[in-house]
Amino acid sequence: MSADRETTRVVRSWLDEGVTRLPDRVLDAVLDQVPTTPQRRHLWSAWRLDQMNIYAKLIVGVAAVLIVAFVGYQFLPSNGGFGGQPTPQPSPTPTLLAHGTFTAQGINTTLDATGAGSNVSGRMTGSNSDGAFTVALQCERTINGLLWIGGDVTQSTSLQNAPVGSRTAIVLKRGSPVQAIFVFQMSDPRSATCQAFFDDMLVIAPQSDIDAGLEPIAGTVELAP
């Protein structure tokens, strides 16, 4: 037997000796900390939503809209009322932001977004074997050359990635083909605003992770120039 083989035999035999069992107290310490240790969801995770707060905010928001609508209605010009006949105005054409039907990261996606900044409207739907979700789009921003379009999940059977009330975004990289990655906030603490959601997700998933996760889409998407 060569010296090398003998050394390997002795080392292996030596390594086989020693501790093989994790003390229960160490395991207990780990399991005690699990409930207070949030999981880091790469690009598709979220903390549980504070449903109470969300519903409360929704109720307050809806009430505020109704009050404004009622007050505004009282001052609307009408026949026999204040003011004259309104001058017909051409309705502004919404600015295209993104429009297409494609598959990205295995998610069959439809995207229809107009507007810019924090005044985005439109809808995104996604579906795969995990379920389907619909996002009411609210905002967009170009970050490090990538177009982020995000909003609130309004309908979902994809409870793992996109529960109702969570925020979701798609990140698009221009090119041929366009590349995309989905960003789900899932059970993470809900960001204060749609724009803040982008910033928060970049903390959880740094730009390098976003870049690494981008995958070419299959299908077509038309992006604003």
């Binding site: 050394t7 002795v10 086989d16 020693g18 160490v26 395991l27 699990v34």
Partner: protein
């Protein structure tokens, strides 16, 4: 590893993670102890690795690669422990009487002592390669994948480490031979 358990833990199922931790805890601890050669440091490293596994589990894309991924996190935890504590307390182990019986019992004890010293002189990088390959029996390609380093680096680290350990054993043999000549 039970992929279903991994998937459930990925989704935040704490009970599934508890089962997972029980299943892998001993193995992780055995590895960390062999790398760090210190019970307390190994316990800290294993604890940290298990918590990191829980925290980062949703980021694991392929649950089938859980084992390699968990070893990678464990080795990182060992690096952290190694950096945190440069001074390692000696580990004393009382040998059972039957281990001392036998014709070459004395040389075995000496070998252990020399190996212990030789191993402690190695960096964590080198120790990790030795333990993953010679204790876990992982092929070198898997060691490279686990540690996220090139295969050539694994081979050179293993070669260097084994030379160091052999030198440690030879160093013990030399004075003994000289003693016999006198």
């Amino acid at each position: 590893m039970d992929t279903d358990l991994v998937l459930r833990a990925q989704r935040g199922d704490e009970e599934a993670f508890a089962s997972l931790a029980v299943a892998i805890g001993d193995r992780l601890h055995a590895v960390s102890h062999r790398i760090l050669r210190d019970v307390d440091l190994a316990e800290d490293a294993t604890q940290q690795a298990l918590l990191t596994i829980w925290r980062d589990l949703p980021q694991l894309r392929d649950p089938a690669r859980f084992d390699a991924w968990s070893y990678r996190l464990l080795v990182r935890a060992c690096y952290a422990e190694g950096r945190r504590t440069r001074q390692w307390a000696p580990n004393l182990r009382i040998l059972p009487a039957d281990e001392l019986a036998g014709p070459d019992a004395t040389s075995s004890v000496v070998d252990r002592d020399q190996l212990e010293r030789g191993f402690r002189r190695l960096s964590i990088d080198h120790r990790a390669v030795v333990v993953l390959h010679h204790y876990l029996d992982l092929p070198l390609e898997t060691v490279a994948e686990t540690l996220d380093i090139p295969l050539g680096t694994v081979k050179s680290r293993l070669l260097h480490a084994m030379r160091g350990l052999r030198a440690a054993l030879d160093a013990d043999a030399r004075p003994a031979r000289q003693e016999a000549v006198r």
